[in-house]
């Protein structure tokens, strides 16, 4: 029999430290598969965040350089400008991209930096123990919203991808999930398209991933995957938010 599925070349044979069922793990594999299929292993540079993915450099077999919490897009900007032939991707959580790093993210996007961002939205601060993130749903219980997030006290969940989509500097933004085979296949296609966008010099691309965090959601992995579709995707609808890739790059 013929092998039709195995570990991508750009993913080291190392056991992930992530919890069972975590969306970070699945997304890591998809990024590595995309890198392999585009043949950019020797050109890619990843930027891991502060957060559960802080040691992502242990897994990707590409160059990696850590950024401080929230600063992925700023670091990516510098890298891409100094090394324009490299394919730069920043990997950031929701606490990272949508809270502490909002300014860096917005301005990099607005400048139309030719970089790719993988945005892991798990609706909590995962690594630090499940505190409310800007993306936490209304009514969602977290360690800092024990009765559930209240719009009055805590504000509404922020839709950063849609906000970024309004900036003229952004080219391609899509929201995906990694909770089912069909959604995982779509997410892989989106990640590949985002890298392609950068390879074509077309400008800022971002893929948001609704990513199950069974541990902090206090669910089994199977129930967490269900929750992504039944609850989380109602607040954060899946699909293309912006796609100007077909147009010529701005001068």
């Amino acid at each position: 029999m013929k092998n039709i599925f195995s570990r991508p070349k750009s993913l080291k044979k190392a056991a992930f430290h992530y919890c069972a069922g975590c969306g970070h793990s699945i997304t890591h594999r998809l990024i590595a598969e995309a890198i392999d299929e585009l043949g950019i292993q020797d050109r890619a540079i990843g930027i891991p965040p502060a957060g559960c993915a802080v040691i992502a450099y242990n897994y990707f077999d590409v160059d990696m350089l850590e950024a401080p919490h929230g600063r992925g897009c700023a670091v990516a900007t510098g890298m891409k400008r100094v090394l324009p032939d490299r394919i730069i991707f920043s990997y950031q959580g929701d606490g990272d991209l949508a809270a502490i790093g909002t300014a860096e993210t917005m301005h990099a996007a607005n400048r139309g930096e030719n970089i790719t961002v993988i945005f892991i939205n798990n609706a909590v601060y995962g690594m630090t123990g499940g505190q409310m993130a800007p993306t936490t749903l209304l009514g969602q219980v977290s360690t800092t919203t024990p009765p559930g997030r209240s719009a009055l006290l805590d504000g509404h969940p922020i839709h950063l991808s849609e906000i970024l989509g309004q900036l003229p500097g952004t080219r391609y933004i899509e929201r995906c999930a990694v909770n089912s085979p069909a959604n995982i296949t779509r997410a892989k296609r989106a990640i590949k398209k985002a890298f392609k966008c950068q390879m074509d010099g077309a400008g800022f691309s971002l893929v948001e991933i609704l990513s199950q965090c069974p541990t902090n959601w206090k669910m089994t992995p199977v129930n967490a995957c269900r929750w992504v579709t039944e609850t989380m995707a109602k607040e954060f609808p899946l699909g293309v938010i912006k796609d100007l890739k077909a147009q010529a790059p701005t001068s």
Binding site: K2, I4, P181
Partner: protein, 69 residues
């Protein structure tokens, strides 16, 4: 069997996502534990695998290789 899978039991964390996507219910946790303390997934003796790879697609640990005729 038109297909089969190879499971690296040391990588498995028993999340059970694969068991929910296999149309033929071919997968179950093994009786013994791996060194991390999980019951790694195994193919049942009477498994009828068609090599669809859905289990490998959802496996967070990249613990499954798939083979097809």
């Amino acid at each position: 069997m038109k297909g089969t899978i190879k499971i690296d039991g040391e990588f498995c964390k028993e999340c059970l996502l694969c068991t929910t996507v296999c149309k033929n219910q071919n997968l179950r946790p093994a009786a013994e534990l791996n060194s991390k303390g999980f019951h790694p997934i195994e193919l049942k003796e009477d498994a009828d695998c068609n090599g669809c790879a859905l289990c490998a697609v959802v496996c967070p640990e990249v613990a499954i290789e798939v083979y097809r005729e």
